[in-house]
């Protein structure tokens, strides 16, 4: 059994190490670089969205037949990433994986921001975003409810539920930590602020008992969400009759991909934090190793999915499936398929077998970034399938246009 914390930390020193980061307000140079870059990109997002709402989604390169573009790609990507938080918090909690404690907090935070990022995209991709609330059931004089057969309606519920549960889960888990910050507060305002947020936590046994119960309950509640949310998101594609979207493998395939990219994002964020804030003792090499192994496993699941897609297209003897597969792999967008294979399979799944890579900050960071790129390309390849479907004449290319696409990342930059 590996120690979860290195260098003989006790409760006080762990509390100090973490509390100092928050309360001191002294940030290393890397934080400032990241923050300012993220903040600048947030402004780009704001301007882009303003222009988008003024002009319409035509400022992007989408067209008929490729009516979805980067917005949906980014949405699925972010939602997938968000899964790591829930997985780490809920499933690993239920499985009594103690090592999760050093990463669960910021992976949960990452989840919340990721879901927020994800939520932006379906909203802004709508033709008439000011009517977004029509997707919710609410009493109205038109007597119209959402159309419940549509996966997009399911999506709205899935993502909304997911965000709510994640937020509650994150906040409940945060209460003892907020109390610790209150106790260490350097001034009055911190004391009042953290005091309010900690809901009168005193750390008594009965508090802990109730806390553990609620946490376990919430863990049980959110465990199905890990599987259901991305399953529902995959239905956005699988329920349609677009060749290569219309596949039963999509739900498990998407969940595996979500965990894959989610873990990659957690590690990709954890490594700089541990490096700059000197938290190697808490987020240890062993943690990196375990996370990398999970990625290795899910990476193979995802790769199996890619294989299965091609196999089924060939084995199913559908002209449309097979014709579209040919176009996907060898057609004008074939480069993106091979980028996906390289970033998602070839590089990470070879590198991660090496213990050295799994425990090297630099190499693991590289692998994680590769997976993040690869998983983005996976969604790109899926959405771009629209360029080739059943009717040969209606095949035309998507013109990616940069506007409004980069914005999502900036929110993420502010997350840690």
């Amino acid at each position: 059994m590996h120690p979860l914390v290195q260098n003989k930390h006790d409760l006080v020193s762990v509390g100090d190490a973490i509390g100092n980061v928050v309360l001191d307000g002294k940030h290393p140079r890397g934080w400032w670089i990241g923050f300012l870059a993220g903040f600048a990109m947030l402004q780009v997002l704001a301007i882009s969205v303003a222009w988008l709402f003024y002009m319409g989604v035509g400022i992007w390169g989408i067209n008929v037949p490729t009516a979805w573009g980067f917005a949906i790609i980014n949405f699925v990507w972010w939602i997938g990433i968000g899964h790591a938080g829930t997985l780490i918090s809920a499933i690993l909690l239920l499985l009594h994986q103690k090592w999760r404690t050093s990463i669960n907090r910021f992976s949960e935070a990452m989840t919340i921001f990721a879901v927020m990022c994800a939520g932006v995209f379906p909203l802004i991709h709508m033709g008439r975003p000011w009517f977004f609330y029509w997707l919710y059931p609410f009493p109205n004089i038109a007597g119209m409810y959402p159309q419940f057969r549509s996966p997009l309606t399911w999506d709205v519920f899935a993502v909304t539920t997911y965000f709510t549960i994640s937020l509650v889960f994150w906040y409940i888990g945060l209460i003892p930590d907020l109390a610790a910050l209150r106790d260490q507060a350097r001034n009055k305002w911190q004391r009042i602020g953290y005091g309010l947020l900690s809901l009168g936590w005193r750390g008594s046994a009965i508090h802990w008992r109730r806390y553990e119960k609620v946490y376990l309950l919430l863990g049980g509640l959110s465990t199905p969400l890990v599987l259901s949310v991305h399953t529902v998101v995959s239905f956005d594609f699988a329920v349609s009759i677009v060749p290569l979207w219309h596949a039963t493998i999509f739900p498990p395939f998407f969940v595996a991909g979500a965990i894959y990219s989610g873990f990659a994002m957690v590690v990709a964020l954890a490594i700089p934090i541990r490096h700059w804030y000197k938290l190697e003792d808490l987020f240890t090499d062993h943690h990196m190793d375990i996370m990398a192994k999970v990625m290795l496993a899910t990476g193979f699941l995802v790769t199996y999915g890619y294989f299965s897609e091609i196999w089924m297209a060939w084995y199913g003897h559908s002209l449309y499936e097979w014709g579209t597969t040919i176009e996907r792999v060898f057609g004008p967008y074939g480069w993106s398929y091979w980028a996906l294979i390289f970033f998602n399979c070839a590089f990470p799944l070879v590198a991660l077998w090496s213990r050295k890579v799994r425990r090297s900050e630099f190499w693991l960071e590289m692998v994680c970034i590769s997976v993040l790129i690869g998983m983005w390309f996976e969604r790109y390849v899926i959405v771009i399938t629209l360029t080739r479907d059943q009717v040969p004449t209606e095949m035309r290319e998507l013109l990616p246009k940069k506007q409004g696409g980069g914005g999502g990342h900036s929110i993420m930059e502010n997350a840690p």
């Binding site: 319409g56 035509g58 067209n63 008929v64 009517f131 002209l319 009717v391 004449t393 290319e397 013109l399």
Partner: protein
């Protein structure tokens, strides 16, 4: 500031004043007082005429409409009812008026729909022989010209607005001396487009009588010069020729695009299609609309530029235009036509054609047609007539008539004479009377624009301030044909009365009115002129009855009865018909090409360059819009090492970057993009005229937002007139093509994507067979062949049973042809719906809408009795479709679809609710073997619509009668429906594509159809507004809707009658009969979408002997 008694500026204030100007005693007021008729006020000479009614009604409504376009909310607008309701006018109920759409002088009878005094939609006039109800895309788009914001709105002098009186007086001063006597010394020339209009011709004749020294020149850059001259040579007299393709078993086209171009092509499409619509169980009918497979006609086409006719051909020979004559001679020689000149050398493939072709022609003596193209020299026309004569076709399928044009003469030569005179300072007064734009269209070697400047007095009547207007000092804005009275003759001479539907929006005048005004002769109002002419002619022809009755009836029908050009009984060939044959065709040098000039399929000679509908509609065969290109064959493209670049994206649709070439001909050159066109012969280049106009109009033709052309100018496409000379207006040799390093972005909605895809693993061909095609021989052995789905052949029976309208048909797998007659026909005995007469073919398909949320019994009759379960459906016959794009423009006109511009088309965002897919069969490297297929694709109105289940807000849902409705107000724009539509017929308003600001365009919109704003999805509705209108009318009259009563815009427009629409619930409906045909299939029906729109397979009738000969 209110005027006061001691106002210093008013020295002598009268006691009562009528206005501030009078009070102020200004000179302008005095002048205005002296002028009884203020400037620009029209003088009405006939206070009770129909025209006057239309004037008041139209202008008032136009103003009311314009006033209604304020941003004020509807609740604050004042809606003023009629104080006196005009007769027949019920707000919301459209009226139809017969009129005549002119093009290059020839008129097509049309019915124009008017909403509250605004003409909004053009339909064909079924009573007019040039239309028979169909229209061309140009006719359809003509209504947009009326509302063109760039129309000339006022008379001008050197570009400065003047009053109409001033302009008219200026001309009068040139024509008459001070005493009002005609000046006999002034050298007077009148220039106009071709004229068939009897009333206008009469007016011109009167003018020429008044001024005997005057000369009248007609000029059409893309006219009938060759046809006329060839006919004259053949028969030794001025004559016109028309054809009856219904009677023709074999047709040989010598570079003639009789289905796509020229007067009568709309009619010919209908006639030709009648012999191509193969039906198993529908009898031919009284008007011969259908044939049995063995009676299908056969079409041979020898042509250069792939045309609509070539695309419809059973055999197409790609051949240089200059070799067509040799080919024709070879055919004539083989047939043994007496006096035919000796045939020259022919290309190998053409040589193989001769024997089987001649044999086939001889087989059907008297029932064949040989037709020569407008661009072929007169000798070819004479040859064609001689062959027709030899085969005994004259009088059975080919009819020689008296000339249709008012004065048939050589238009190109006449212009050359005029230009020569002008250049020699031998013209004092030039009156250009509309319909022609010689400053742009004249042969470049004539330098017409330069010569015009020598004329001291230049006057122009035209609809736009075009290139010719720019060279003339005086200009009067011409009235649109929907604004003024007139008449015109169709291809066979039948006169159609051109009835206006609206008072001139900008107080324009017609040519006849201007002629009358400047000569002070008789009536000056168009109505009076036309009516007076016909009154006279009525008397001259000694027609029976009362004139007034004749006139009312004629105007109502739009067609003058018995006015077709009289046929020449027993026409005989003139002695010297074979004289004047072209010299032997020169062999092309290694880097020399034959250049071909053709009128643009949609812009014609450029007169429609500012018509957004015609610019944006993809050209019938090339599918390019907004531009022209140099069309070359694959071998030529390879030789020149031309680029075609889709970047990294593939770009099969919408966006293609191609090389720019310099095209040099006789020392002049232009730069234009080059396009590889399958089926184009090697060694030739084709360019379309009509592009590159510099004074087309600010909104479309010269809109800077669309980007510059290949030469860097703000025009659409490159001007091929800059190469065209008077000697070789159609084609010539010695053109050179040089590749430049430039590239140009073309908007081609469909690149060279063939129906098939090659599997890289094993090299087999993946054929998705969107167009099921076969030969009539195939049809005879297995009429069900089209039902076999390529992707699930084993489930063919199941799939076809799920296609609406199919369940009554017998299992196609049984292999036996279904018995004809009453037993299994759609009208056989049903005693209880499921019993009698159904043995052996199962139940009828009486599902209404499988997945509707509405009560299927919620039908027409409020008393609860079961009304007809309407199931609207459409069938499209691919054998009849010629890809003419008329349906696309008709749909755009009917449904207020926006013009998105080239930039948006290159981004894949055209907004056509119906598109025409074009597929090639064969490889581009073999022009001889390339076959072309067209497939119009509107919304398939699936019964199990994939779009419906994915919409999160139920913005697209099924109606009780099975329509897949789109609710714009509910749409939030997730676009999932489009993704899930396997046909990709949904169109999204990615941006605000509609023009919300141009006032004149608002008048032209169909008030029955919502104008969509950005962010919502739209698509074909089966013209639901027409369905509902038909339902309301039928309900009011307590009767079921008659079959054929509701017609969609595309169906009505289709010249070849390829589209049929109706109610599948009606057992006798035509659409039901079409769908019961064995060749009926559903596009992508294997996806179980149950499409209500289905297709009838494309059938060809190849000559097996020729097929074998070509293989050798």
């Amino acid at each position: 500031m209110p005027p006061e008694a001691n106002d210093a500026a008013a020295p002598n204030p009268p006691q009562l004043w009528r206005g501030l100007e009078e009070y102020m005693d200004s000179p302008a007021f005095h002048e205005a007082m002296a002028n009884e008729f203020p400037e620009d006020a029209a003088e009405w000479t006939d206070p009770v005429s129909r025209r006057n009614f239309l004037t008041v009604m139209g202008a008032g409504l136009a103003l009311a409409g314009a006033a209604g376009c304020t941003p004020r909310p509807a609740s604050m607008r004042k809606i003023v009812p009629y104080t006196r309701q005009p007769e027949q006018m019920v707000p919301g109920v459209p009226l139809f008026f017969a009129s005549a759409a002119p093009l290059a002088g020839y008129a097509t009878g049309v019915l124009v729909r008017s909403h509250e005094g605004r003409p909004v939609k053009v339909e064909g006039n079924p009573d007019h022989p040039s239309s028979l109800g169909g229209t061309s895309a140009i006719d359809q788009a003509s209504v947009l010209d009326l509302y063109d914001p760039d129309r000339s709105k006022t008379p001008t002098r050197s570009g400065t607005p003047v009053s109409l009186d001033e302009a008219v007086h200026a001309v009068r001063a040139q024509l008459f001396d001070a005493t009002g006597q005609p000046k006999q010394a002034v050298r007077l020339r009148v220039l106009s487009g071709a004229v068939t209009s009897p009333a206008l011709a009469d007016r011109v004749a009167a003018f020429l009588t008044q001024f005997p020294q005057a000369k009248w020149t007609q000029f059409e850059p893309c006219g009938q010069d060759n046809v006329r001259e060839g006919t004259r040579r053949a028969f030794g007299r001025d004559a016109a020729v028309n054809y009856d393709f219904k009677q023709a078993d074999v047709v040989l086209s010598l570079d003639a695009d009789f289905l796509g171009d020229g007067p009568g092509h709309v009619r010919y499409s209908r006639d030709f299609a009648a012999r191509r619509r193969v039906r198993d169980s529908i009898p031919a009918g009284a008007d011969g609309e259908y044939v049995k497979p063995e009676n299908m006609s056969r079409l041979y086409v020898a042509e250069c530029m792939p045309s609509q006719t070539g695309s419809a051909a059973d055999h197409r020979l790609p051949i240089l235009s200059g070799q067509v004559e040799a080919f024709a001679r070879a055919v004539a020689a083989k047939l043994g036509v007496a006096g035919a000149p000796a045939a020259g050398t022919l290309p190998d493939a053409a040589q193989k054609w001769i024997d089987p072709l001649v044999k086939d022609l001889q087989r059907v003596r008297g029932k064949s047609i040989v037709v020569a193209g407008d661009s072929q020299p007169p000798a070819v026309h004479a040859l064609a007539h001689a062959i027709n004569n030899h085969l005994g076709n004259l009088g059975t399928t080919v009819f020689v008539t008296a000339p249709v044009e008012a004065r048939p003469d050589g238009k190109m030569l006449a212009l050359a004479d005029l230009v020569r005179e002008m250049a020699a300072n031998a013209v004092d007064v030039l009156l250009v009377l509309g319909g022609t734009n010689p400053a742009y269209t004249a042969p470049v070697d004539l330098d017409c624009a330069g010569a015009v400047k020598n004329v001291p007095f230049r006057f122009h009547l035209g609809s736009h301030q075009d290139e010719t207007a720019g060279t003339c000092e005086w200009h009067i804005n011409e009235a649109h044909y929907l604004e003024t009275w007139g008449d015109g003759r169709g291809h066979d001479g039948t006169v159609a009365i051109q009835q206006p539907l609206i008072a001139p929006l900008y107080n324009g005048r017609s040519a006849a009115e201007v002629l009358a005004a400047v000569t002070l002769a008789g009536d000056t109002d168009g109505y009076d002129i036309v009516r007076a002419y016909w009154r006279k002619r009525f008397a001259d022809e000694k027609r029976a009855g009362v004139f007034e009755q004749f006139w009312q009836e004629t105007v109502r029908l739009g067609v003058v009865a018995n006015s077709a050009a009289p046929r020449v009984e027993k026409p005989t060939l003139a002695g010297g018909w074979a004289e004047g044959a072209s010299p032997a065709y020169p062999t092309l040098g290694a880097d020399e090409y034959e250049i071909n000039f053709r009128p643009d399929p949609t812009l014609f000679d450029g007169r429609f360059a500012n018509n957004g509908w015609l610019q944006e509609v993809p050209k019938p065969v090339t599918r390019i819009c907004w531009d022209n290109a140099a069309y070359v064959s694959a071998a030529t493209a390879k030789k020149l090492d031309l680029d075609k670049d889709f970047r990294w994206t593939g770009g099969e649709r919408g966006r293609t970057e191609v090389s720019v070439v310099t095209l040099t001909y006789q020392g002049r050159s232009i730069k234009l993009p080059v396009w590889l066109l399958p089926g184009h012969p090697d060694g030739a280049i084709t360019v379309h005229l009509g592009h590159g106009r510099e004074r087309a109009g600010a909104h479309v033709g010269n809109n800077p937002g669309q980007g510059p052309n290949a030469e860097g100018k703000q025009v659409r496409g490159s001007n091929a007139f800059a190469l065209r000379t008077a000697a070789t207006p159609a084609f010539g040799t010695g053109a050179k093509l040089a590749k430049t390093t430039d590239h140009y972005l073309l908007a081609c909605v469909q690149a060279n994507w063939v129906m098939t895809q090659v599997d890289p693993l094993n090299g087999t061909v993946i054929d998705r067979a969107p167009v099921r095609r076969g030969t009539n021989e195939q049809y005879k052995t297995n009429p069900w062949f089209a039902k076999i789905t390529p992707t699930a052949a084993g489930e063919t029976a199941l799939i076809s049973q799920n296609i609406p309208g199919q369940a009554g048909a017998r299992n196609p797998e049984s292999g036996t042809v279904r018995q004809r007659g009453t037993q299994y026909g759609p009208d056989h005995d049903h005693s209880n719906g499921n019993g009698n007469g159904h043995e052996g073919h199962g139940h009828h398909d009486d599902r209404l809408v499988p997945l509707t949320m509405y009560n299927p019994n919620d039908r027409l009759y409020p008393d609860g009795s079961r009304g007809p379960g309407r199931r609207w459906a459409m069938a499209i016959d691919l054998s009849a479709c010629t890809g003419c794009s008329s349906c696309m423009v008709a749909c755009q006109s009917e449904n207020n679809s926006p013009v998105v511009g080239k930039h948006e088309v290159t981004r894949g965002r055209d907004m056509y609710w119906i598109r025409i897919d074009r597929y090639y069969e064969g490889t581009p490297n073999e022009p001889d073997a390339t076959r072309t297929y067209f497939q119009p694709v509107p919304c398939q109105q699936c019964e199990k619509a994939p779009c419906e289940i994915v919409c999160p807000v139920a913005a697209t849902a099924h109606s009780a009668d099975g329509l897949n409705d789109m609710v714009y107000n509910r749409c939030v724009g997730t676009r999932y429906c489009s993704n899930n539509c396997p046909y990709k017929v949904r169109r999204f308003n990615f941006l605000s594509f509609q023009d919300w600001s141009t006032e004149s365009l608002k008048l032209g919109r169909n008030p029955d159809v919502s104008v969509r704003s950005r962010g919502v999805m739209e698509k074909c509705t089966y013209c639901v507004q027409r369905i509902r209108y038909g339902e309301i009318v039928a309900e009011r009259e307590h009767r079921p809707i008659r079959d054929g009563e509701v017609r969609t815009a595309c169906q009505t427009a289709c010249p070849s009658g390829a589209i049929v629409f109706g109610d599948l619930g009606d057992p006798a409906s035509l659409v039901g009969k079409w769908k019961a045909e064995p060749s009926n299939y559903g596009l992508l029906a294997e996806l179980n979408t149950m499409p209500r729109t289905t297709y009838l397979a494309s059938l060809r009738n190849p000559n097996q002997e020729l097929v074998d000969a070509l293989k050798r």
